[in-house]
């Protein structure tokens, strides 16, 4: 791999990588059983540089901000490289946000350029807030021939003919603005520097190396912090191959493993759980004698890998299971949400390593990961090399808020000095998660201090971001909380949201208001839905500027009501 300590920017490192391994395959885009595109490092460069030149011809300069809204595909990476080549700041937006939310974040980020897939662009143009879009150059991919692009350019025709000029950046310059939350009005745009990414890549690849011939299966969109690092920067700076799969359907994921002989893959707990379920079903369907044989082999593998993994032994003992994963899988990475230890242990016993990690966007992606020396299903592993982790204000059990310090922690939240100073205290990033470091330095997580939930799909949901969708309902005031914030619980699973309703007439709540909330709740994305409501009979405490004092209200509720008071919606 490249020695990333010698480079100043992602653009510089990627540029060198594209020349270092010209004939290696860097990117394959697969969709179901089809292969849409395949690029060598040279071909990738040849696809990206004319785009970079056209961007420059359109006035793209050093520090210009450019947003990408796309699903998981090759043009995401080609566009991102062109942006970095031109010295730009990339704003990767989640394609699953609503068009209104995307417009809000585009406005907040001041992105001058936007690169977007046609079906997403069409939805954006139909949004009432579309006229507020300030991006001056818009490139649309996969647009049908006769589509009305509303003034946007076709990505495939947006090509310059002359050589673009490479624009160098310094290590502390912004590389990306990544939104960790804030579609409800308080956008948290994490400004991550080139150093943040380069150092994260050095740390991660020291534990999980890539090299030419390694094939990484990418099913998460590249706007996802994990995929951006291990499905783009990591493999590309090591001469490895990224295989994009444009569907999340389990049957095609299974086929991709064998067709492309995958080495690594990242996934969220829900997909891992689904893989587990599929395997358990297949095992259960075996004739009794074969099932007994399999169980004996699993037991043997468990005994032989107790201290550390032995991939060779596991592949020999459990060849058929490993063949279903392509036979060359070295590890799956799981993160973004809590994974149950039983699931991790299930895969480890089969000799399939699952690198269970913990991190957040603000910390530059990964903070801790399991290093398998030895495997520990009950923890999220040790801090990566170069990362310090401490527990702030631990209780008698040693559980307190997890704080981290490293060269990977973001620079700041965009245009939000107050939020930045709350999040980064004396150089330490306060994560808002509750955890404990055990005697061997492994981090165990126990819950959250902050008012938010994380779904199995790895989505971070902040109550404030959902309140917009409920504005105008016929109650005097309302406020949304994570139940585990109201009533702290030492768990990272089954997190739910509840709405606290204070009606005009005190205790009696209008049934029409509840129906209206229920209806609006139904229209929310499934992972943002409220599980129930609480009836509250007093005015909410508010600041001088009339903002709800959420902490104080939560404390009042905690003193008066229990979880049993939640009425399901």
């Amino acid at each position: 791999m490249l020695d990333l300590s010698k480079y100043n920017s992602l653009g510089e490192a990627l540029r060198v990588a594209l020349d270092r391994w010209p004939n290696e395959i860097c990117l394959i885009e697969a969709d179901r059983d089809r292969e849409n595109a395949r690029f060598t490092y040279r071909q990738f460069k040849e696809a990206a540089l004319p785009l970079a030149r056209a961007l420059q011809d359109a006035g793209f300069k050093s520090s210009t901000r450019a947003a990408i809204i796309m699903t998981n595909q090759s043009k995401w990476l080609i566009s991102a490289y062109a942006i970095f080549f031109c010295g730009g700041v990339l704003v990767p937006l989640d394609y699953k946000l609503t068009p209104g939310e995307q417009l809000q974040l585009l406005a907040h980020s001041h992105a001058e350029f936007l690169i977007v897939e046609y079906h997403l662009w069409r939805a954006i143009t139909q949004d009432p807030a579309f006229s507020s879009l300030a991006a001056r150059v818009i490139l649309v991919t996969e647009a049908p021939a006769n589509a009305d692009l509303h003034g946007a350019h076709r990505w495939k025709h947006f090509r310059g003919t002359l050589e673009p000029s490479f624009v160098p950046r310094a290590r502390n310059d912004a590389a990306c603005i990544v939104y960790s939350s804030g579609t409800g009005g308080n956008p948290k745009g994490c400004v991550l520097t080139h150093e943040n990414y380069l150092e994260q890549c050095i740390a991660l690849t020291s534990l999980y190396p890539f090299w030419p011939g390694v094939r990484y299966l990418s099913i998460l969109p590249t706007n996802h912090a994990i995929d951006f690092m291990v499905g783009f920067i990591g493999p590309f700076t090591c001469g490895a191959t990224v295989v994009h799969l444009r569907t999340l359907r389990p049957e095609y994921i299974r086929k991709a493993f064998t067709r492309y002989k995958i080495t690594y893959m990242s996934l969220v707990p829900m997909v891992l759980k689904n893989l587990e379920r599929g395997l358990r079903d297949r095992f259960a369907a075996l004739p009794l004698s074969r099932r007994k044989m399999l169980n004996a082999l699993i037991a043997a593998n468990r005994a032989l890998t107790r201290r550390r993994p032995h991939l060779g032994i596991s592949r020999a003992l459990l060849g058929q299971v490993h063949a279903a994963f392509g036979g060359e899988l070295r590890a799956l990475f799981v993160g973004g949400a809590f994974t149950e230890p039983a699931t991790l242990q299930f895969f480890y016993d089969l000799g399939i390593l699952v690198g269970n990690g913990y991190g957040c966007t603000e910390a530059g992606t990964v903070i801790t990961v399991n290093d398998f020396r030895p495997f520990r299903a009950d923890t999220v592993g040790k801090p990566l090399p170069g990362i310090e982790v401490k527990i702030v204000n631990p209780d008698s059990d040693g559980v307190g808020e997890v704080a981290t310090r490293s060269k990977m922690v973001m620079s700041h939240y965009l245009d939000a000095p107050e939020m930045t100073s709350e999040a980064i205290v004396s150089g330490w990033l306060m994560t808002g998660d509750l955890g404990r470091l055990d005697s061997s330095g492994h981090l165990q997580l126990f819950g959250r201090k902050k008012n938010m939930i994380v779904t199995e799909e790895g989505k971070n949901i902040y109550p404030e971001d959902i309140e917009n969708a409920l504005e105008g309902v016929a109650v005097k005031e309302f406020c949304i909380f994570a139940t585990n914030y109201l009533w702290p619980a030492r768990t990272m699973v089954g997190e739910k949201l509840v709405i606290v309703l204070h009606s005009e007439s005190g205790n009696s709540l209008d049934s029409a208001a509840v129906s209206e909330i229920s209806e609006r709740n139904r229209r929310l994305l499934n992972y943002k839905r409220l599980s129930g409501y609480l009836v509250w009979d007093r005015d909410f405490p508010r600041t001088a500027s009339l903002k709800i004092k959420r902490g104080e209200l939560a404390e009042m509720i905690r003193q008066t009501l229990t979880r049993d008071a939640v009425i399901p919606l």
Binding site: T71, L248, E251
Partner: protein, 80 residues
């Protein structure tokens, strides 16, 4: 070409069989996440069954922002 009503009806019938619920319990306006207790992967599974039934291809993103049978039927109908 079948009517939207017929497409909707076929979707409901297929969902009822696949998720082992009574057809009479499902209505076009039902939220399938809630009614059938599905997560996003299970809805992709439903999409695969529907593709096989209608002999069309539905990209994963067609499910984005869709949670009721009626809207799903409209998306499918547009591709028939």
């Amino acid at each position: 070409m079948p009517t939207l009503e017929k497409t909707t009806d076929e979707i409901l019938a297929l969902a009822a069989v696949h998720f082992k619920v009574s057809r009479a319990e499902l209505k076009p306006e039902d939220d399938f996440y809630k009614k059938l207790g599905l997560n996003s992967l299970q809805t992709l599974d439903l999409l695969t069954r529907l593709e096989q039934h209608f002999q069309i291809e539905l990209p994963d993103y067609e499910l984005q922002g869709v949670s009721d049978f009626r809207t799903l039927a409209e998306r499918i109908h547009a591709r028939l």
